[in-house]
Structures are given as structure tokens and as C-alpha cells.
């Protein structure tokens, strides 16, 4: 079995804090893999080690057979691994439309293109693509609004759209529904399911909302204090006593 993403023996310490301790994780092609765990477990740190934001102290991260450690963030993006952040990272001063046009430009033009004499208004292919993805997210009515004027939930959805327009082969989502209204959360779940049907995109989702996790995940890994304490199907995880103790026990009565 070959994996799209293979994390082997990754360690990361911050000062004395062992944020990741010998983490091993394999993501299969086409699956939706949820990572759950209490606050401060190291979930975001793990994603940071995959996309070049942090360099692990030891261990390896292999994506599509290629070593990712030491690669620049923009090259990792072009390799097909795209990250959506925990606190929305959008372009607050640009219009909502431009926010999705830019990732589309990156996909089309590569890491650097010098085209100061091309007209933005002539980029019809990208414009149409951007409008269609905004329609999927029901953001098209506000396409020319400044992104900073959006609600937090909509910013998240916008960032998700920015990730999706690049058609990544692996999408890393860090709490994509946090701060969203229930209605938008359900909407997002539907969108992610639809995306899987259409493109078969592989996803890693960090999520605290168990409703989201159990609606989407094919497999779940549980991270606690830097250790993966369990990996398995949703049913395995639900019934794992260690997991109950470390995590589910507290959040089930929410």
C-alpha cells in the first residue's frame, strides 16, 4: 500500500515542551482523515511540519514519494499539498473575488511570473472559475466586497474556497468549522462531501466538532500530548477506552 502522505518518527520540541513525540501517521489516497485531540495536543504543529512552516527536530515527511522537509512553502503548495489555517489567513484588504483569483493565478502561473502588461480584467478563465467556486459557497453576491468586512465564519469558508480552487491532491484543514453557525457548518460538510465525490480529494481535517468529524472521516487519529494514541475507523475510535479517557469523555457531554 502506498500512501499519499507519510509522517515517520516526527519530533518537535519548543523549549522544554515536547509538542510532537515520535509521531507516525499514514494518509491513504482518497481518504478523509480526521485528527482529533485536546487543546495543545500538537495538532496544528503537526500540520506546520508538513507544509514547511516548521522544521521537525527529527523524522521525515514524505508526500507523493517526495521528501518535504526543508522545502519552501510555495514549492510544497505546487507539489499539491494545500493548507487552510486555524485562524483564517485571507487577504483582508482585497475583494472576496480577488481572494480566490490569487490562488487560481498561483495554480496557473507558478511561483513567479512577471506580467505587468497583462490585464487583470482579461483573465476570463480564472475569473469564471473564481465566480463558480464563490457560487458554491454562496459568496458570489459579495464578490466585490472587501474580505475584512466578512464574518469570521465566512472568512473560514472563503479560505476553504481559496484552497479548493487550487484542486490540491491533499488538503489540510485546521478546524474548518470553528466559529461557524450550525447552518454554515452543515453547509461546509456538504461541500466537502461533494468535493470528495467530484474530485476524490484526500483530506486531513483537524476538528473539535464531533458532528463534523463523524460525518466526514473515513479514519480518525487521536493525538494527545504529542503522541498518537489511536488510529482507526470512526467505530474503532468511538469504542477505544484510551480515547474515551483522553478526549471523547470530556466532549461527549457538550
Amino acid at each position: 500500500m502506498s500512501y499519499i502522505l507519510e509522517i515517520k518518527g516526527v519530533n518537535k520540541t519548543f523549549g522544554g515542551l515536547h509538542a510532537l513525540a515520535d509521531v507516525n501517521l499514514q494518509i491513504e489516497e482518497g481518504e478523509t482523515h480526521a485528527i482529533i485531540g485536546p487543546n495543545g495536543a500538537g495538532k496544528s504543529t503537526l500540520l506546520n511540519c508538513c507544509i514547511g512552516r516548521l522544521i521537525p527536530d527529527s523524522g521525515s515527511v514524505t508526500f507523493n514519494g517526495k521528501n518535504m522537509i526543508g522545502m519552501e512553502a510555495h514549492d510544497i503548495n505546487h507539489a499539491g499539498m494545500v493548507r487552510v489555517f486555524q485562524t483564517p489567513e485571507i487577504f483582508p484588504d482585497l475583494s472576496i473575488l480577488d481572494n480566490v483569483m490569487i490562488p487560481a493565478l498561483a495554480k496557473r502561473d507558478g511561483t513567479f511570473t512577471f506580467n505587468p502588461f497583462k490585464k487583470m480584467a482579461d483573465q476570463h478563465d480564472i475569473h469564471d472559475e473564481a465566480m463558480s467556486i464563490l457560487r458554491d459557497f454562496s459568496l458570489d453576491d459579495f464578490a466585490d466586497h472587501i474580505a475584512s468586512s466578512m464574518s469570521r465564519g465566512n472568512k473560514r469558508r472563503l479560505e476553504l474556497a481559496m484552497g479548493l480552487i487550487q484542486h490540491p491532491s491533499l488538503l489540510l484543514l485546521d478546524e474548518p468549522t470553528a466559529g461557524m453557525a450550525r447552518h454554515d457548518t452543515n453547509n461546509t460538510i456538504e461541500l466537502l462531501k461533494e468535493m470528495k465525490r467530484q474530485h476524490g480529494t484526500t483530506k486531513v481535517i483537524i476538528e473539535h466538532d464531533m458532528h463534523v468529524v463523524f460525518s466526514l472521516a473515513d479514519r480518525i487519529s487521536v493525538l494527545a500530548r504529542g503522541h498518537i494514541i489511536a488510529t482507526g475507523t470512526p467505530d474503532d475510535i468511538r469504542n477505544d477506552p484510551k480515547v474515551k479517557e483522553a478526549y471523547l469523555g470530556e466532549s461527549e457531554d457538550e
Partner: protein, 381 residues
Amino acid sequence: MKISIKSNLIIMLIFITIVLSAPIWGKVIGAAYPDLLQKFAIFALFAIGFNILFGLTGYLSFGHATFLGVGSYTAVWMFKLFSMNVLPAIILGTLMSGVFAYIIGYLSLRRSGIYFSILTLAFAQMAYSLAYSVLTPITNGETGLQLSQQDPRYLDALFGVAVSDGLPSTNFFGLSMSGYSGFYFCAVILIIGFYVSLKIFRSPYGLKLTAIKSNQKRMKYTGFNTRPYLLSAFMISGMYAGLAGSLMAVTDPLAGAERMQWTASGEVVLMTILGGAGTLIGPILGAVIIKYFENIFSALNTAELHSIFSFMPKFMENIFVFITNPFVGDGWHLMLGVLFMLVVIFLPGGVLEGLGKVTNLFKRILGFKSTKQGASKGESS
């Protein structure tokens, strides 16, 4: 002010009309001297270029006068060595400052924010002292680089152009660059420079530069290598400065180190912010406003102040002269400082934002709907 005129052609036609009619509207504001109008055009060009770096990417350079100086020195050397024709001078002046911008940009862009600004300032101070003392054989130090009748001018000599008496004067294929023809030459270059900036603003490249300003981290994780974007923007704005510097030499063929002083670097920052950073027209407006007021206020002296306030009773006159005196003549920079402070505190978007507010107010009074806020910002002009 959010006038989003979609058509580049219409914008250019309006712009060309305004620039070429400067000698006419200049009369109204008492600025219709070729010397002053030239200054407007040259500094507008400098500010347009500066705005491509600062306005689009948000990187604040405090050392752009370096490129102004490089442009001037190169142009004067071209006059001395090759020809009094201005074309080779401005071309080489622009290219040479591009080379300098590449080197300084390459090193300074290793940092961002305040550290970037400090690095550019440090390089500019180094360039200044190099020009002032170390490189005296090239720059003629304190005196400044000047033309002389004995200069070789190989190209001119080849074509048998001889200078009979006095210093040679600059020309554009025979058209002398003094008086209004000098202004029109600068005006045409300004129009070209504005057109290029308009194209950049509305290109995918320009959009990516604004995106870097908005969220550089996001740009990186979106798959853009931001370094070459920043470096190319730095070079473009350095080349605009070099072009402006060589035009200074065209209209007045000498170059001195004071052109590279930090005050000159600061001035273009003021122009851009005063007019409205990141807008198409703002920096031009800022440049014209500053040069216009400089022209008026730096020329005033105590005696003239007395005559201005002479309509008042004598003791009032004396008080007013006493208060205003520090702000005129050599004290004009004090005035500039106050002006700048007021704009930054009350109109952070610059004069253009102020004009926008005033137009909206009038529209409301006249019963129009105020222009839609929150619309696309990149297109504002």
C-alpha cells in the same frame, strides 16, 4: 476617492490633457514657470515609482534618493563622455539605477517591516558618503559633478558637433532642453511613466503585489515565491527614481551628493503618503502639492510676511509675522512637517481620501446617493 474608471484609454486621455495643459492651469495657481512645472513632473515620476514599491507591496524604503543620485551622476557622465543628447543619458541613468536597486534590494529584502526600512536607510547613507567623499574621482565630491567645455563627448565629436563658447547645453536631437521644451520633454516621460504604472496596477502582477502587502504569509502558502516579486517591484521603483534623477540632470546638468541625502529619501515618502499611498493619482498629487508649497513658502522672508500681514493693526501684524516667520524661507520644512502630521492624523489615506470625503459630502447635500463603500480597493484612483 473611489473613481473607478474602467477604461485605461479614458484615464490616459484625462491625464495627458491635465499634464500638457499645465502651463495654462499653472497660471491660475501662479506656477507657470517651466522650472517649477519641470519639478512637478520629475518628482511626480519619482513618487509614482516609489508608490509601486510602497503603495503596492507595503515595503517602506527610506533610501530611494540613492537611485535619484545614481540616475543624475550617470546622466551627467553620459553628457561628459558621449553626447549632450539626453536620450542615451536617461536610458543609461535608468538602467544603472536598476543595477543598484537590484543589489540594494537583494540585500535589504532579506528583512521586512522596520528592519527593511532601516537597511535601505543604511545603504542610502553609505551611498551618500561614498558620493560625498570616497568616490570623489567619479562624483567630484562636495562640489558636485559638472560639465566642462573640455569634456570629450566622443559621440558628439564623431558627428562633428562642436561647442563654440560657454558650456554645452542638453538637447533632444537638436531640440534644446531649456525652458518649455524641457518641461514638455519631462511631461512626455511622465505620461509614459504613468501609463506603465497604470498597467502594473491593473495587471495580475500588480494584484499579487497588493496581495503581498495584505498577507505575505498567505501568499507563500498559496504557492508564490514572494522574493522575486518584491525584488522586481523594488527594481522598478528604483528605475523610476533613476529616470527622475537623470531628468534632473537633463534640465540642469549637474549632480551633487546632496541629492542622495536622507531628507530627499524622506521627501518622496511624504509625497506618497500625503497624496495617498497605493492609489494611482495620489503620489502625483502629493508631489505637486509639496513642490508647489515649497516654491511659495521657501521664497518668503520676513519683509514679505510684513507686507502680507500689513492690512492688520501694527501689533497684530508683528505677532503674526512672529508666529509665521519660523515656517517660511529655510523653515519651510517645519511647515511641511506640520502639514504631514495633520494628514497622517486626520486623513491617513492622504489628500485623495480627503477629496473623496468632500465629494461624498457634496453628493449627499445635493441628494445623490453616496458612492458605495467597501468596493474593490485595488482599482481606486
